[in-house]
Symmetry: C2
Subunit: 214 residues, 2 copies
């Protein structure tokens, strides 16, 4: 992703290091001040550069956000792959992945808000940057299918609505945690502590088939 094409590999490497350093700072700004606080000037300031110099690395602020979006996707994918490495396909994977997703979002609130909400008024990620995100959700969806086939969940869990309900739970826990107790860790958070209870609630609903509405 961050590999540039150049005649000299040494120069390209150095260039890539600068690009990565710029994104490191941008990420830090997001975490500290929110996603909307990222500016070309502030990144340059932290790099010990003048703002115009940064335009040699990125064509625009929009491009920086796009690179951050891609980086966020890569990070969360790595984090979840590592977390679910030894998980069984199906329900076990879904539980582990859900916990990992919430844990990561709390560790990286800036990147998470960029990936999962629209915190920057003018910015929409490019199709390329967005594609891995879709792939990730399809993987989740697949594990719902597996869980239903294995009988760990009811057949109705193999549906887009069930998938949406699971994302509702995860995003709800994250947003409540970050809004009401920012800075708290996954273990200490009064909302993130409810993760397993929420998952049980979901499993309960999609194990015993639906009852009537009052």
């Amino acid at each position: 992703m961050a590999t540039s094409i150049s005649r000299s590999p040494r120069i390209a490497e150095r260039r890539d290091r600068t690009v990565e350093a710029a994104l490191d700072h941008a990420e830090a700004i997001m975490t500290e001040e929110g996603a909307g606080a990222v500016t070309v000037s502030e990144i340059a300031r932290r790099l010990g550069m003048r703002a115009p110099s940064l335009y040699k690395y990125f064509p625009s602020l929009h491009a920086i956000y796009d690179a951050l979006f891609s980086r966020g996707n890569a990070q969360v994918a790595n984090y979840m792959n590592a977390a679910t490495a030894t998980s069984e396909p199906g329900l076990d994977h879904l539980r582990t992945a859900s916990r990992a997703m919430i844990r990561w979002s709390i560790q990286e609130p800036g990147l998470a808000s960029l990936l999962f909400t629209r915190p920057v008024p003018g910015f929409k990620p490019s199709a390329e940057a967005f594609a891995p995100s879709q792939a990730m959700w399809q993987l989740w969806r697949h594990h719902l299918t597996v869980a239903a086939q294995r009988g760990e969940l009811a057949p109705s869990a193999d549906s887009d609505d069930a998938m949406r309900m699971l994302t509702v739970l995860i995003s709800g826990i994250c947003s409540q945690q970050l809004a009401n107790q920012p800075g708290a860790s996954y273990e200490d958070g009064i909302f993130s502590r409810l993760t397993d209870e929420g998952l049980d609630m979901f499993v309960h609903r999609y194990t015993h088939e639906k009852k009537g509405t009052s």
Copy 2:
């Protein structure tokens, strides 16, 4: 809240109308462009005023956000009071209030994000502006107590954790709906359509006592 003290009631009235008009515009900006897009200049522009004139009505941009916060609280309280006017105390009230809250948040995404998240980096509502919000949640909490006493929910539902779980569901539906299908109505939204299913899931969990975790 918006009543000013003045010797002449006529002038005070006119002043209050201007204040309200300014907040109307600010609200519209929030809905159209996001909570972070509210600026003194843009409000003045829409009022047909110069920016400095607005400082006769508000001491700072921060004060405008605070007034918007108060207004949001009043609006959502009115909306929910109207919606729950004929509801039975307890579970019926909670169901109706949850639907109303989600419906209102989708209709007023700008105000809702101001009330329930922290979309503006520098802004924290004043204690006075925040107080009604706390009162509202205490009312919800009260209805959980009533529902448990009536036997509509299990005793464990009379807890802060159950309250948090309910807010997780509501905020999760809102945030997913607004992020993934902005502009859709409550009826058409692929996430807001899950409201009743989510409530059923919650009720199911807090009716049948908790089972073991896998």
